[in-house]
């Protein structure tokens, strides 16, 4: 049932795809001169795809406006160039905790980014470590600075990165993600607009080898499409931040805390709320009238959790985090819109999947995922109060 991931460069000759034995389908990532135009899924038979099958899959799977990316390239138009000027300096920050194998892979990818942008500052924030495994991995990469943050919490680590960073922009990447060499420049090119406080990028699956990874990609994909989009606090609903992106692939201005405050340390991994720290920051940025850009030119490849247990735990954590975030926004900032959003998500997002799970046994696992998510949602408000209590006790 696994899915092979292959890249197709349209500016070169197309040919058959071999060596797909053991895969039921393929995910074709289609590029035009490195720029990703879209992706297409195609079933695989006999371990190969002939050229005609590849062409048909691309034709059927590409977004209807993929031609626009090609046209922009042909006429030499880049909408980010409007803000011109040299790119700002940047720091890459990886927040991690006891995942040395993943971290080594991430640092290898980051090294290629640094080769492309020499002089880039790289930080590894080791969050409340219980061993020196992370420190030992970082020692193998002399261009990387190791920072130990003893207080537990992903948002605590993010705030530490903002303090330690030397660049004007802090680009966050996960320890289980591998950014492409052009990733950092693509993120930074969007900061010419002074209203942009945050930029998110396209996150694609590095592998779809297990059922859990397939389900994750289907149920909660990190990718937000192949078209650049500007989210504007003057126009868009600041609470509806799902389409904005995710913390696994985001960059913020180093001085963001002075504009809208630091990351909320009651939220996200390492706290009872489990997630939601990135989305709460997005909501605050938009709520203050600033902008966030989603730019699919900033590509990173994420290794999703391989086991079903991890997947269920992750989805449960997302439910907890979202509702904890909404609880905070409602109680502390009087954001009544959170109630409306919670109802809309339940009515139009979760209920249909639950019902289809009851009707069709084929959708049973998907329904189970939603049940886990709902369990998390119900626990979210309580988790927010727990996290607040812990934070008060800690401070």
């Amino acid at each position: 049932v696994a899915t092979a991931i292959r890249e197709i460069e349209l500016s070169g000759p197309l040919g058959p795809l071999e060596d797909l034995h053991g895969y039921a389908r393929a995910m074709l990532v289609v590029r035009w001169r490195r720029r990703i135009l879209g992706r297409a899924f195609v079933p695989v038979a006999d371990g190969r795809l002939d050229e005609q099958e590849v062409r048909s899959a691309i034709r059927a799977g590409l977004p209807a406006d993929a031609w626009l990316r090609w046209l922009e390239d042909t006429v030499g138009y880049d909408e980010r160039a409007r803000f011109g000027g040299p790119l700002p300096t940047a720091t890459i920050a990886i927040c991690t905790r006891e995942r040395p194998v993943d971290l080594r892979r991430a640092l290898q990818a980051v090294s290629r980014v640094v080769d492309a942008v020499p002089g880039t500052d790289v930080l590894v924030i080791d969050n409340a470590p219980s061993s020196d495994a992370t420190r030992r991995v970082v020692q193998d990469y002399p261009r990387v600075r190791y920072i130990c943050e003893p207080r537990r919490g992903l948002n605590v680590a993010r705030n530490r990165a903002l303090i330690e960073a030397r660049g004007d922009i802090v680009a966050f990447s996960d320890d289980d993600a591998a950014p492409e060499p052009e990733w950092l420049d693509a993120l930074c090119a969007n900061f010419g607009d002074p209203r942009v406080l945050c930029v998110t990028g396209l996150t694609l699956p590095a592998e779809l080898e297990t059922e859990a990874q397939e389900l994750f990609e289907e149920h909660t994909p990190f990718g937000r499409g192949f078209r650049r989009h500007v989210f504007d606090g003057q126009r868009d609903n600041p609470l509806h931040v799902g389409p904005v992106g995710a913390g696994a692939n985001m960059a913020v201005r180093r001085n963001i805390a002075g504009r809208v405050g630091p990351f909320d340390e009651r939220l996200d991994g390492g706290t009872p709320t489990r997630s939601g720290g990135d989305h709460e920051m997005f909501a605050r940025i938009l709520g203050a009238g600033y902008r966030i850009v989603y730019d699919p030119a900033a590509v990173t490849w994420h290794t999703h959790r391989r086991s079903m247990e991890s997947l269920f735990a992750t989805v449960y954590g997302y439910g907890v985090g979202v509702y904890a975030m909404w609880t905070g926004l409602l109680l502390e900032r009087r954001e009544l819109g959170a109630i409306k959003l919670a109802w809309a998500w339940f009515r139009h997002g979760q209920v249909p999947v639950l019902l289809s799970g009851l009707r069709d046994r084929g959708h049973h696992t998907r329904a189970r995922l939603v049940r886990e998510e709902l369990r998390g949602c119900l626990h979210g408000p309580r988790a927010w109060f727990q996290a607040r209590r812990l934070r008060h006790a800690g401070s």
């Binding site: 031609w67 046209l71 006429v75 138009y77 409007r82 003057q234 009238g289």
Partner: protein, 434 residues
Amino acid sequence: MAAISIIVPTRDRPDSVARLARALASQEPIDGGFELIVVADGCTDATVRRLHAMPTPPDTRILEQPAAGPAMARNCGAALAASDLLLFLDDDVEPQTGLLRAHLALHASRAGAVAIGYLPPVVSHGFFGAALRGWWESMFDALREPSHRYTWRDLLSGHFSIRRAHFEAIGGFNPALRCHEDWELGYRLIRAGYAFVFLADAAAWHHEHSDVNKALRRKFDEGVADVQLVGMHPELVTALPIGWPAHDISIARAQRLAREHPAVGDRLARVLQHLLPLYERWRLRFRWRAALERLMTYWYWRGVSAAAGTPHRIASLVAAAGTRDLAEPLVLDLAQGLPEAVRRIDAVRPRAVRLLYRSDVVGDIPDQPGAEPLRGVHLPAALARPLAREYATALARDGVLPALLASPEINFHPAAPHLAASVESLRTEDRVRA
């Protein structure tokens, strides 16, 4: 002689002028230095006395005039300037260190340029502050784009520089206007062929202390000014809200209230304005924005009605503008290659362009009242955005667009038949002219 004369009109804001003077004193040094001319326009407090008492840059003059508006104040300041280069700044701006150097460098390299500087806003917290930052920055969004086509409305009297000879030749600001006097000057400058240039490096913090009340009063003044502008330059009517059809029922209602029942309209506006803090308290930002939008529309039309007098006068102003003569477009065949089309546009500087691809009509970049003639750099942006579909269709038909990318969005039918009909005649005329 100073290298640059800085002219600052002010009214009852001595603290702001002091901040400006401090910022100018810490500018990067420039050859020849600068002079500062502060024109106190109808000050009613102790502004002039305080200005004399405060530390100012060495070459500073303080003038006083009875209340005659900022346009007249700027003209008076310019008349006394000793330098060949004039820099106009508002009193609520705080120049960043490289501002003077950036203006001087631009004028040293480009004769006949009018340099518009950047004014990043400093605003208060809350919905209104965020909205203000949004409006203010969006003005500069377009200016930053290399492919921006400058128009008369891009000139900002709060921060721009111009050669003194050019300012005098054009006749300076029109003192009859108390608002939009910069737009009116911008129109005359563009029409006379001066090139606008946006200087992102010349930045001055704009300490915007406006509030909802001031913003609505400003909208009223804009309505008054637009009636005056149309009286002076009737051809601009289609570029101003006064000349646009009411495309929305709320605009039509605001127009009717302002025109026919201003007493009722004013009361309703006050009630709506009282709701704004409630909406903000409960974070109902979409309602807040809609309410503010309605209020601004109402007060704009209230200003229009107050200035125009009778409803008949507004209609006659719009009608008098009539249909203006549009410039004949330059016809270009994109099949000759994009670089060639860009080169032709740069050589001819047409007001409008009609784009063909062999026998297909791709579309027009139309004439705009008060816009600069076209430059080559405008073409790629037009092809990648408003004309993208038509251009891609033409490229697909010619086999240039990779077949795998030709989606149903690209239609293969001849585009815009009404344009196609006129193409042949234009081509013939073009050949005759050539």
